[in-house]
């Protein structure tokens, strides 16, 4: 069972650790979940991320940040990685890395884009594409600790095939409401034609500003700019809108 509180790294300096891939799962047509065993993992909070470093035999090294997808669970860390065709790291992680392989990992980092179970205000999650990953960690953390804090999620995806965590979201959680937005192709008979989120989606699928929700927005820079702008225009206080842009 996941713990209600996560021990912080106390006085321990951030360092690279060796992580071993123990399982790989297809999440969508573009994304895979990597289940990693990280000896000595100090635990994490929902919304935090890790840096992953890959080093080639010739010594060339590169690193990227990935949000943790899972709620804290011992020394297991799940990353859900979406492949970008022109990417340098994501195709390796999704296609080449096989069970038993090692990667270097540093974290968890970031204490700002985090949801903590002691927060009691309503939560409004706005995800664009793989921006759902850290928000899913928040949904999973809420479930793991049995929180009754009401959550609403707006999830904007290109098409139904590119959605992440489809069956888990379909199964649902009491007190979590999900609204889907499709930007390129919507399913047949979908009530809203394909297109970007707009003010009607944000006000219809979210909380009114009077409820003073904390809003977490994660996605591409363009998505975050649009969504955060809509939230503020609808009257949400900018101090309650937390954003995380993906490259």
């Amino acid at each position: 069972m996941a713990r209600a509180t996560v021990p912080r790294r106390l006085g321990e300096r951030l360092r690279w650790r060796t992580a071993r891939l123990t399982r790989r799962e297809d999440e969508s047509s573009l994304a895979r979940t990597l289940v990693l065993d990280v000896p000595g993992w100090p635990g994490h909070e929902a919304g935090q991320h890790v840096d992953v470093r890959l080093t080639a035999e010739d010594g060339y090294s590169t690193q990227r940040s990935y949000s943790v997808a899972s709620a804290p669970d011992g020394e297991t860390v799940e990353l859900t990685v979406q492949r970008t065709d022109d990417g340098e790291v994501s195709p390796y992680l999704t296609d080449e890395l096989t069970v038993g392989d090692l990667v270097e990992l540093r974290g968890p980092v970031g204490g700002w884009f985090v949801w903590r179970p002691e927060q009691k205000e309503p939560v409004f999650l706005l995800a664009g594409g793989s921006g759902l990953v850290p928000l899913m960690a928040m949904i999973r953390m809420r479930r793991a600790v049995g929180s009754r804090t009401p959550f609403r999620l707006i999830y904007s995806a290109r098409s139904p095939e590119t959605r992440l965590f489809t069956s888990e979201l379909r199964r649902g959680d009491p007190g979590l409401d999900t609204t889907y937005v499709y930007t390129r192709s919507a399913p047949p008979q979908w009530p809203r034609p394909a297109g970007r989120i707009d003010a009607s989606v944000v006000s219809g699928g979210g909380w009114p500003p009077d409820f003073e929700p904390t809003c977490y927005v994660c996605g591409s820079t363009a998505f975050v700019e649009t969504a955060a702008g809509l939230l503020v225009a609808l009257g949400h206080h900018p101090g309650r809108v937390r954003t995380e842009r993906f490259g």
Binding site: H49, S65, G110, G111, F113, T243
Partner: protein, 90 residues
């Protein structure tokens, strides 16, 4: 059509910042020397594509902080910040 900005959030630089300062810096706040805006480092605009990491002010776009790692050194230029305020645990 507006071009997509190429920055991320200061959050994306959290690992490099923490490895340098030894504590989570996304919760640190600072004041822009250029426009006086107060912000969390998590709210700055982070440019990670170059040889180093650059944090810019979300208000005036001024450079707040530059971090560049060479083979033997880490260079830090934080002259765009009037101050940094870090939360300390009790």
């Amino acid at each position: 059509m507006t071009p997509t900005p190429d920055f991320l959030d200061g959050n994306a630089a959290a690992g490099d910042l923490e490895s340098l300062f030894g504590t989570d810096m996304t919760m640190a706040s600072g004041q822009c020397h250029g426009c006086g805006r107060q912000m969390m480092l998590a709210e700055t605009h982070a440019y990670l594509g170059g040889p180093g990491t650059v944090l810019r002010c979300p208000g005036c776009d001024g450079v707040l902080l530059r971090m560049v790692r060479s083979a033997h050194d880490m260079w830090l230029d934080a002259s765009g910040l009037d101050h940094l305020r870090l939360p300390v645990s009790a």
